[in-house]
C-alpha cells in the first residue's frame, strides 16, 4: 500500500520488520522480493509518483573535483528513482571483475561471480530482458552478426542486452500497492539513522517531510537503498553517536567514489572495405548490441590497465560517387583520364541516387528532391569510437558533506571526482588494442586522439554510474560493508545498490544492483527467520 507520509501525525512511531530507504532499482527489487516473506516491510520514498522540483532540489550539491553531471540532474528523486530515466543497458560484471587484479589496488570482491549468477538470472526478467545469455556466439546465431576472432589477450566482443527500459516505479507500482505487508511512505525523507550508544545497532530511522510532519520508524533491520551518492550522505549525516558518521570508524564512508570515465570521439575507425562483419555495429530494434571490450587475459596483466569498452557508431558513405564524378570531370577538363577510372565509374553508378539528389538540389536550390536517398542506408565505411574506462578505487575520489544545507537543514554533498594514471593508461591501451586488432584482421585503420599531457580532455564525461562509496570488503579497514552487505559494526544495517561495489568493471551497474538486491533479500529472510 502507499501512504502519504504528510498525512501522519507529528512524532508518529511506525514499527516494522524491515525498513528500506529508497525506491530505485535496489529498493523496489527488495520490496518485491520481501512482500510475501511474512513480516512487515516499510519503504521510504522522498518524492511521490512524479517529479517535484522542491524534492529534486534536495539532491543539489557541488563539484569540487573533475566536473561531472550536476548532482540534481544525474539522479531522480521520486518513486522509481533514477530508473525513471535510465537507458536500459544491461550486462553483468565479468568474472575477472570480482577477482584480485595485480595492477588494481583494492580490487577483488569478497564474493565470486558464481555466487551472483543465480541472482543475475532472476534479475533478467525484472529488467524485462531475455535469457541470461551474454555469449557473442549465442547472439550471432540469433541475429546474424558475426563475431570476429579477436586475440583474447587484447579484445573481445561484449554483449549488452537492452531493457525497454524498465521504469521500476511504473512497472511494479501495482504489485507493491497490492502487497499487504509492504507499506510505501511517499514524501518521506530519511534524515537520520539514530544508533544506540555504542553505534552497534540502528534504533530509529528519523523521517521528515518537506513542510510536513516528522516521524520515526523502529525496525529490526534497515536497508539503505538510496543510491550511490545518497547512501554515503545518509551515513555521514547520521553522526549523533559517531561524529564521523555511522559505520565510518575507518573513514571510508564516501571514499572510493567511482564513475565510469567516458571519452567521446576517442578515436575513429576507417574500414578497408564497407560493412565489415562487426557485432558492434548494432541495428535499431535489436535486443542486444556489442562493444569491443577488455579481456580476462588483459586483466591479469601486471602492466596496470583496467577494464574498458569501446562503443562504435556507424559512419556512412554518402557522396563517394559525387566525389568520383568531380574527379572524373576535373581530369576530363584537363584532357586526361584519372587514375583508377573504373573505380570512379563504379562509385558513380553505385551512388547514382545520391548524385541525382545532389544535382537536383544544386540546380533548383531546393532542400529536398524526388531522388532523396536515406544516408543511413548506405554502406558503413567507418565508425566513431567512444571510449569508456573503468574507474579504479581511489580513496581521494570521494563524497563529502559540504557546508551548504538543503530545505530539510541537512548538509548537501560535495563530490570530488578524481581519475588517475591507471585510467589514463587504460584509455591508451583501449584504443591501441582496437587499432592492433582491426589492422591484424585486415578490417581497417584507426586514428586515436591523444590525451593532453596533464589533466583530462574538456569533453570527458561521467556516465551516471555513481559507485563505491560504501564499498564491500571482508576487512572493515578496507570496506564499509561485508560480503552480506551489512555495515561493519552495525548489526542491523545493510546497504543496497552500487555504493557497495568495490570495483565497477566496464559494464553498466543496474543488472548487478538488482542481482545484489535479490541476494540481500535472501539474507534478510534468513535473518528474520
Amino acid at each position: 500500500m502507499f501512504i502519504d507520509a504528510r498525512s501522519l501525525s507529528q512524532n508518529t512511531v511506525v514499527e516494522t520488520g524491515v525498513c528500506i530507504i529508497g525506491t530505485g532499482a535496489a529498493g523496489i527489487t527488495l520490496a518485491l522480493s520481501l512482500r510475501n516473506a511474512g513480516f512487515p516491510v516499510a519503504v521510504l520514498e522522498s518524492g511521490t509518483f512524479d517529479f517535484d522540483p522542491a524534492t529534486q532540489n534536495l539532491y543539489a550539491g557541488q563539484m569540487v573535483g573533475i566536473p561531472n553531471y550536476p548532482l540534481d540532474s544525474s539522479r531522480l528523486r521520486f518513486f522509481g528513482g533514477t530508473t525513471n530515466a535510465w537507458a536500459g543497458t544491461c550486462r553483468p560484471l565479468d568474472p575477472e571483475d570480482f577477482e584480485r587484479r595485480p595492477a588494481i589496488p583494492l580490487s577483488g570482491w569478497p564474493l565470486r561471480r558464481t555466487d551472483l549468477v543465480p541472482y543475475y538470472e532472476q534479475a533478467q526478467p525484472l529488467c524485462q530482458l531475455g535469457p541470461f545469455e551474454y555469449d557473442p556466439g549465442f547472439w550471432s546465431a540469433q541475429i546474424g552478426h558475426i563475431d570476429q576472432p579477436f586475440d583474447p589477450a587484447r579484445l573481445k566482443t561484449a554483449i549488452f542486452q537492452l531493457s525497454p527500459p524498465t521504469r521500476f516505479g511504473q512497472v511494479y507500482r501495482d504489485a507493491l500497492r497490492q502487497a499487504e505487508t509492504v507499506s510505501v511512505y511517499l514524501n518521506a525523507n530519511a534524515v537520520d539513522l539514530t544508533a544506540n550508544p555504542t553505534a552497534s545497532t540502528v534504533d530509529v530511522v528519523k523521517v521528515a517531510c518537506l513542510g510536513g510532519p516528522t516521524f520515526s520508524l523502529r525496525s529490526q533491520f534497515v536497508v539503505l537503498a538510496a543510491g550511490g551518492l545518497e547512501n554515503a550522505r545518509i551515513l555521514l549525516l547520521s553522526n549523533g553517536v559517531q561524529p564521523a558518521g555511522l559505520g565510518n570508524t575507518h573513514d571510508l564512508v564516501g571514499r572510493y567514489f567511482m564513475d565510469h570515465a567516458f571519452f567521446p570521439w576517442g578515436g575513429v575507425a576507417h574500414f578497408a572495405a564497407p560493412n565489415p562483419p562487426l557485432a558492434h555495429l548494432g541495428r535499431p530494434g535489436e535486443p542486444v548490441f556489442g562493444t569491443l571490450a577488455s579481456t580476462a587475459q588483459a586483466a591479469s596483466d601486471a602492466n596496470g590497465t583496467a577494464g574498458f569498452q569501446i562503443l562504435m557508431t556507424d559512419m556512412y558513405r554518402v557522396v563517394e560517387g559525387v566525389e568520383s564524378l568531380k574527379t572524373v570531370a576535373d581530369a576530363l577538363a584537363h584532357f586526361s583520364l584519372p587514375e583508377h577510372l573504373w573505380e570512379h565509374l563504379g562509385n558513380i553508378l553505385q551512388d547514382s541516387d545520391a548524385i541525382a539528389d545532389s544535382l537536383y538540389r544544386t540546380l533548383t536550390g531546393r532542400l529536398t528532391s524526388p531522388f532523396t536517398s536515406d544516408p543511413t542506408a548506405g554502406p558503413v565505411v567507418g565508425a566513431r569510437m567512444d571510449v569508456l574506462v573503468e574507474h579504479t578505487p581511489n580513496p581521494a575520489s570521494r563524497v563529502l558533506l559540504s557546508h551548504d544545507r538543503d530545505a530539510l537543514g541537512q548538509n548537501r554533498i560535495a563530490l570530488d571526482w578524481r581519475l588517475g594514471e591507471i585510467e589514463r593508461r587504460t584509455y591508451q591501451r583501449a584504443l591501441e588494442s582496437v587499432a592492433l586488432e582491426l589492422g591484424r584482421l585486415g578490417i581497417g585503420r584507426v586514428h586515436v586522439k591523444a590525451l593532453p599531457d596533464t589533466g583530462w580532455p574538456q569533453n570527458l564525461l561521467g556516465t551516471y554510474h555513481p559507485s563505491g562509496t560504501t564499498r564491500m570488503s571482508d576487512d572493515p579497514k578496507t570496506g564499509v560493508v561485508d560480503a552480506s552487505c551489512r555495515v561493519h559494526g552495525v548489526s542491523n544495517l545493510y546497504v543496497a545498490g552500487s555504493s557497495v561495489f568495490p570495483t565497477v568493471g566496464y559494464a553498466n551497474p543496474t543488472l548487478t544492483i538488482v542481482a545484489l538486491a535479490l541476494r540481500l533479500a535472501d539474507e534478510l529472510r534468513r535473518q528474520m527467520a
Binding site: A273, S336, W342, E343, E432, E437, G439, L441, H447, V448
Partner: protein, 135 residues
C-alpha cells in the same frame, strides 16, 4: 601535408582489387621498382602524405632511403630482383600478410594519430622521399 581520412582509407584498402584497373596512360608507363612497391599500397599520393608526416616526426634521426628499402625488403623477405619480377597480385598478398603480422606483433607506428604497420609506414616514407623523382 597531413594524411587525410581519404588517404588512410586508400592505404587500408590494400586488397586485390585496389589498383586493378589503371588508366591507359599509367599502364603504358614503365614501372620502376620504387613505383611498383609504392603502388602495392594502391594510393601513391596518400602514401606520400603519410610518409611525409612520419619523416617530419622522425626529424634528423630519421631513416635514410637505403635503410627504408632494406627494412621493407627484409620485412617482405624479398630482394630487389624478386620485387622487380614478382607478380603484382602475389606481391600484394605478401604485403598484406606482412602488414597483418606487424599488427599482430605490435610492430606499429603512430603517424599523426593514425596507427599504421611498420612496413606500410616505411613504404610511405619511400614514397615521400622519391616523390620528386617520380613526378
Amino acid at each position: 601535408m597531413r594524411p587525410t581520412r581519404r588517404d588512410i582509407i586508400r592505404l587500408a584498402g590494400t586488397g586485390l582489387t585496389a589498383g586493378a584497373f589503371q588508366s591507359a596512360s599509367a599502364a603504358a608507363s614503365t614501372q620502376s621498382q620504387t613505383e611498383k612497391l609504392i603502388r602495392l599500397l594502391g594510393a601513391p599520393r596518400s602514401a606520400e602524405a603519410s610518409g611525409q608526416v612520419y619523416l617530419i616526426a622522425q626529424g634528423s634521426t630519421g631513416p635514410t632511403l637505403a635503410a627504408l628499402w632494406s627494412g621493407v625488403l627484409g620485412a617482405l623477405q624479398l630482394d630487389a630482383a624478386a620485387l622487380q619480377r614478382g607478380d603484382r597480385n602475389a606481391l600484394k598478398r605478401r604485403l598484406r600478410a606482412r602488414i597483418r603480422q606487424d599488427f599482430a606483433e605490435r610492430n606499429v607506428v603512430n603517424v599523426d594519430g593514425w596507427i599504421l604497420s611498420r612496413v606500410e609506414t616505411e613504404i610511405c616514407a619511400i614514397a615521400c622521399l622519391t616523390a620528386e623523382s617520380r613526378s
